[in-house]
Symmetry: C2
Subunit: 288 residues, 2 copies
């Protein structure tokens, strides 16, 4: 990355490509400082462009940050698998292809499910994990999203209004923050934008989300095996993955800390990008 | 209660007695306004005098508050049983003896275990439940208290210093709050003090605490059956019952809210008595 690229931040970060041992060519962006990289795992139907540049830039100010399209998503090759476990193996293959030995993970929404799975499958690959708008596999009452949520973000053609209704709380302050975030996400980058995600990705990801939510109390115990430090975070009004599942995760994982951000919803990390980035840095720097 | 008694508050509230259908004479105090009574369930080795008068008075300013010694504790008759289930049945017998049809509960520490059990045994008796410094039965890592905790509050002769080391955080502000609370608890009431709790009570209660902490993931599911509104609260530095168990409870109970109070420990509700009482009132008034 040239100094000019670094100055321009995520909105101008070039999209790179790497082919992994599984034969898939992954699209990714790589920016920021040195040290243990922070690899980001994206939300339902999101691609590289759906990360709020304000958040990525705040994270990249202090550490190396890598965003990528998992298999079948956006500009990456292949078809999106329909299980969280397969997505985790696909993410591990990408990290291996970058020849990075150890990373921190920040998983957001379905990406946070993938992050949990990676922590279980390949703990040695990880140092610390951030789970944003997350839930443990098997929690009761989370089999699929509420009708108004999947109606807003699961339709064939999504709209900014639908996005904002799920990612931001129904208050003036949060909706205003949502307009600003949507402006940065959808309007900030004008060239070299990512490929849109497909209906195949939507269906496969939602199958995986629904399977993750089969109620099964015994499966909740899985995350007790995560012996890494974990930071669990959510907005207090998230309608997509209720804050109670963040409580549950933070109670089940032996070494977890929890922050619930005020007056915010699924996209709390974009709304509160400065505070959240500072909290992530504080959490990750504990280990440095 | 006379107007003068009401004015004097908990430090001067008379100790009353009532005999229940189980033949036990219970010692209790009853003060405050009308409406659905708030019945309090006391901590390990605590008697009527171990409630901070500042908290009780803040609660009684807006509602009827009842404190009592459960079977075998302080001035109540009988021997303390060694299971939470038996303590719950004993508490139900006391409430029945007062001829109250429906109550709110505030259980603190071992009293919060009893409150959960009452909510499972006799849900119709309850309207809302506050669980302070609590944990669900079966949580892993809570089989008995940490050596420094049981050493400080479990010895044959307890000391103010031991009490403060567990109930307050190791910061200047919390320790100062602890000195003030200890002054109110141990020095505020000069006549008609309760009987001290016995070694039999200590042993039976700690047997019950250890049994509550047998790790058993399947038992965690029990509290999912509590369909009352629940307010879960703890101090952020509680060494006796770690905050993670409050997260776990709030994640497992379908309709729970959670507050973790800053710079405080097991006795957060005494340290933050004004704020906690206001939060309890807000929670309970939601239902009125």
């Amino acid at each position: 990355m040239t100094p000019a690229e670094r100055q321009a931040g995520y909105a101008a970060a070039p999209t790179r490509r790497v082919t992994a041992h599984n034969g898939i060519e992954y699209a990714y962006r790589d920016l920021g400082a040195s040290g243990v990289p922070l690899v980001l795992l994206q939300h339902f139907r999101g691609n590289l462009d759906n990360w709020d540049p304000a958040l990525i830039d705040a994270l990249a100010a202090k550490r190396r940050v890598v965003t990528f399209d998992n298999v079948g998503v956006g500009a990456s090759g292949g078809a999106t698998p329909n299980t969280i476990e397969a997505m985790a193996h696909d993410a591990i293959a990408f990290i291996d292809a970058l020849e990075i030995e150890r990373v921190d993970l920040l998983g957001f929404s379905i990406g946070s499910f993938v992050a949990q799975e990676i922590a279980l499958i390949r703990p040695d690959l990880l140092r610390r994990v951030v789970l944003a708008s997350s839930a443990p596999q098997g929690g009761s009452g989370m089999h699929g999203w509420a009708p108004e949520v999947i109606g807003a973000v699961g339709a064939p053609e999504t709209t900014p209004a639908g996005y904002i209704s799920v990612f931001f709380a129904p208050t003036d302050a949060s909706r205003e923050a949502g307009q600003q975030a949507a402006g940065r996400i959808f309007g900030g980058r004008t060239t070299d934008r990512d490929e849109p995600t497909t209906w195949q990705t939507r269906q496969a990801q939602y199958d995986a989300v629904c399977a993750w939510g089969f109620p099964n109390h015994s499966l909740l115990e899985r995350v007790a095996a995560i012996d890494l430090p974990v930071f669990v975070a959510n907005g207090d009004s998230d309608p997509m993955i209720l804050p109670r599942y963040s409580y549950l995760l933070a109670g089940l994982i032996p070494d977890a800390r929890l922050t619930i951000y005020p007056d915010s919803a699924h996209g709390f990390l974009f709304q509160h990008h400065s505070r959240f980035a500072a909290d992530v840095h504080a959490f990750l720097d504990d280990a440095e």
